[in-house]
Symmetry: C2
Subunit: 169 residues, 2 copies
Amino acid sequence: MSTRKGRKAHRQDLLTRLWDLGRIMSTQTVFLHQAIAQSVGLNATDTKCVDLILRGPHEAVTAGWLSNVTGLTTGAVTHILDRLEKRGIVERVRDTSDRRKVFVRVRQDRLEPLIPQYEAIGKAYLRLVEEYSDKELKLICEYLERVSALSESELAKIISARRSREYKG
Amino acid sequence: MSTRKGRKAHRQDLLTRLWDLGRIMSTQTVFLHQAIAQSVGLNATDTKCVDLILRGPHEAVTAGWLSNVTGLTTGAVTHILDRLEKRGIVERVRDTSDRRKVFVRVRQDRLEPLIPQYEAIGKAYLRLVEEYSDKELKLICEYLERVSALSESELAKIISARRSREYKG
DNA sequence: TCAGATATCTGCATTGTTAAGATAAATGCC
DNA sequence: GGCATTTATCTTAACAATGCAGATATCTGA
């Protein structure tokens, strides 16, 4: 690996390529998931909130929790839940012990009609990963898990920075 | 690798984990990039359009091209360009040979003030990838490039499906 | 001139924010 | 304990932004 370019230059190329890929993929994600959501009559925010509720810390999460992890205002979350509830995709349940809280639960059965939209892309993705060995997939998994953790902490950082700015202003 | 689980079960675990990661990361991306954009006074759509113009097929692209690759209507693109132009981030340039066309160019100098916001996350990301060998990074790069190509074709598919539906409707 | 392509404009629906308010729980003081 | 105050959670209402559909304007080339 030192025919024309040095080892360091080669590595630098890889890093640049990875960074660019990150930018490209985030752009694609924004528009792709907007389009996918639209094709089932929703928008990207709403569908992604459903995803968050599904994989939330408990089987049901509160509206406040959603506001925290998304960085959206509680007012926006209320609207989101209104829309999703009208579609029958989620239901609100008041907490009996702390009646301020509203738990939100996804109604799996109402979600199923939307799944076919996702299956086509899922199949194409499966064909892609099938070409890799277990060992390679493990490496990729671990890498993505780290990137995901990084994204999560960055978003949390931005949200808390915004909050502390609101106190001063 | 056959202590408790069979080889096949292990692989199935990996595939499920990867699929879940894809869902998690797309959700994170939607909210993270919305938050990042907001912190520089823009929105996710607008910043991502800037990104697309920067890496477009030519140094300058047309509004119609942007509409095509994003899946947004031309009306939406007009508003986006209005906002970006007002901020001085892009400029419209009429083509002299084909005067129907309006080329959009990014003004790099007006972009630079926004870069610091991205540098913190860039540094954290660099620390992450530094732990990997060249060979590993190459594998990851190639994997991501394939996923990216898949996303691009999926978005194109949705957009063209939408168009053909409009003819009938 | 006309067909087509391209870009923009207009009016409207959707989405998210801010600010205020309603209700419930927690805290503190007597 | 009982009551006032503060804090927490969610909702509402008015407004700002964003995006869409469709109409209009502009341009090219036959």
